[in-house]
Amino acid sequence: MTAYFIQAFIYLCAAVIAVPIAKRLGLGSVLGYLMAGVVIGPIIGLVGAETNTLQHFAEFGVVMMLFLVGLELEPKMLWNMRNKLIGLGGLQVGLSTLVVMGIALSFNYGWSIALTVGMIFSLSSTAIVLQTFNEKSLTKTEGGKNAFSVLLFQDIAVIPMLAFIPLLALPELVEKAQSVTQSAAEHHDELSLVAGLPGWAYGIVVLMAIASVVVGGHYLSRPLFRYVASSGLREIFTATALMLVIGIAALMSLVGLSPALGTFLAGVVLANSEFRHELESNIEPFKGLLLGLFFITVGAGINFDVLLSHIGPVMAMTSGVILIKASVLLVLAFIFKIRGSDRWLFALSLAQAGEFGFVLLSYTVQNHVITNELAQLLSLVVAISMFLTPGLFILFDKVILPRYEKNENTREPDDIDEKGTVIIAGVGRFGQIVNRLLVTNGVKTIVLDHEVQQVENLRKINTKSYYGDATQPDLLHTAGIEQAKMLVIAIDDPERAVGLVEYIKHTYPHIIIMARAFDRRHLYRLRNAGADFMVSETFHSALNLGKHALIRLGVHPFKAEQQRATFYETETTHKDTLYEAWKQFTEDDKYLVHYRDMFIQLEETLSAAMKDERYRSFSKVERSWTPPPKENHTEFSKAESD
């Protein structure tokens, strides 16, 4: 136990020191983790033997990341991407594999080895690229979107590759292995549902597994989440989310599929779910830490002995791989009409080899396709190319982007009509109406509520709403508060509403806050906390009822409306003085009297304003059209029809 603590401490410590430094230097967190790994692994030698085991564990971060990626992608979007996914992704994997294979063949490797090496290097690092895109907010750019569809295709392509590699086994390696470790290998075989099944049965099992993820995700997840959510225990919801992801990963491993693909699929199935943002905010921290761990293990796993003894070939191969992949990508970018700086982003971001390279490598060794020595060299190439990726992003940021920015700045800004997203916290009686008005005016809203029933009802009438506690920073983050333009606060809890205003104004001062208040004091408190617009929930409806009361009592409707408006305007002109008075008395009780005086004064002004309207033909405060006095009628006959 002590050893675990010490190791965990070393890893965390390295991350805590290295990542903020890397971030501050503008290198991105990925490079920070990698450096941390190199320092604690090969350089200081604090860790070593366990990195391999840890890496398997840390690869789960990639699985979680793909789950989160899936959550962001509705099936419809995925379908819309199909051309790019298959065209761009397929061509990238195919061409890169062929070019690398050709070069390997020219170095007199056998065709099966050459093909394997080609496949290994054709894959890029989903983990590094997506993480960096997120950090640099490049996800929504043209280059970022295209890179994503390629990565997605690669993640899918891993599966046929894994199926294909055993067929390439070299007879002499197989023989050697069999004679040495025949019995041992049998025992170390992983737990599997499909071992020894004939091909057709295997196919059926795989299909059933995928079907169960899709169908289960679609039909069973909702009742399950609803049941858990109604318990109101946040940590149980987290447990459920983890259970789901781990369960799917386990199922996929059992049938020999990629866990990453399985969870990605589950993510897509749940992308439309009202629990999406809550799921995201629960899984996100685990993903972040595991991915970090993964990058550290990549750094720590660099074998300096092998590297130093083969520094020439390794470096040559690494730069070769990056060059080949970048040129293939550039050509594709040209064919698929990706323009400007996006073309370079697309080409540079995907030029490295990826974590699936490690997976394929260990798999090829297990299946006796390539020798252990070659595999060690190749895994160095994979690791170093990943290591260099942040450098390529820096190259993009510092050299390529500035060159294009000059040209692109002269273009008109694209999103001039974009109204921006509005997050609505709480969709009870109040928030619902706000939401309907905004949505019917083409404003994009994201609705959050912690009442499962409420969310469900809204979903029935096609309102995009999500389950979750809107006062939780995590949930607001996954709902996209950073990109939002406005937050409407219509939650039931007055205290938390004030807290939410304070939090948002402190963390995201640019966001406009529109807040519903319960009464006058709550309104002052919201204003004090920094809300941009507040309204008492009952004020306008009460005024409206009052107006109709006047009408029923015989007041002319137009007159009644004028009186209502006068009432409202008098309130408005007094709100600042009342607010100042309130602020003083909350600081010091003796001002309470002062506040009461102010309030009484408001009432007096109010009734004066109302009387003005009614009895004085020539008032000073508020007035409608007033006829000129009768005595001068003939001389100044403005009111001919009077």
Partner: protein
């Protein structure tokens, strides 16, 4: 030569500005001019609750008053009428003590859908634009303001397609500058049918 610039108040009325092709660009450029206060009446009073005191103060603070609007049914959009009804009170704008507006200058900057030939006795609108603006002319007379011929754009619906908007805006800016710098022949302007087409005679260059 140094003299105080005249202050211009532009009261702009357009109830659907997102569809406006002439008046909104015109207003937006107007807003940027020196010595001009440009008020979007529909923007400031979306419920027609006009603040009479504020509007009267604005009138006191300016020397030239402009109504800027698209012609609706041979008249102004509704809020300008409401503005007249409420702001031009007895003993403020007219009446024994109502001398506030005396000596100021008043003009309309408007757009009309029909062609200029439609606005004459033979045309389908039967009256000239200036004739149709008689109620406003009389408003100016009663309140003691000098009524200038309108600054008008005809065939407004197709002006954007025919690239007439920019020149119209430029001419308007030139008029505003000349008015503010007192280089405008007020007397001549009172006698015309419309200002457009006479700017070279109306404006004295420096």
């Amino acid at each position: 030569m140094a003299q105080v610039a005249k202050k211009i108040l532009v009261l702009y009325a357009h109830p659907s500005q997102e569809r406006s092709e002439i008046n909104t660009p015109l207003f937006k450029t107007t807003q940027l001019q020196p010595n001009v206060t440009a008020v979007d009446l529909y923007g400031e009073y979306p419920t027609f609750r006009i603040n009479i005191d504020r509007e009267q103060q604005r009138l006191r603070d300016h020397d030239i008053v402009v109504f800027m609007f698209p012609l609706y049914w041979y008249s102004t959009p509704a809020i300008l009428k409401e503005w007249q009804d409420l702001v031009l009170e007895y003993n403020f704008a007219y009446g024994a003590k109502g001398k506030t507006l005396c000596g100021k200058t008043f003009l309309c900057a408007l757009s009309a859908g029909g062609s200029e030939s439609a606005y004459c006795e033979e045309g389908y609108n039967h009256f000239s634009l200036r004739e149709l603006l008689r109620p406003l002319e009389q408003m100016a007379n009663l309140t003691g303001m000098n009524f200038l011929a309108p600054f008008a754009l005809f065939c407004a619906r197709t002006a954007s397609e025919e690239n007439r908007v920019d020149t119209h805006v430029q001419k308007w800016i030139r008029t505003l500058r000349a008015l503010s710098e007192d280089r405008f022949d007020i007397e001549f302007a009172q006698s015309l049918e419309k200002l457009n087409g006479h700017l070279d005679q109306l404006i004295r260059e420096h």
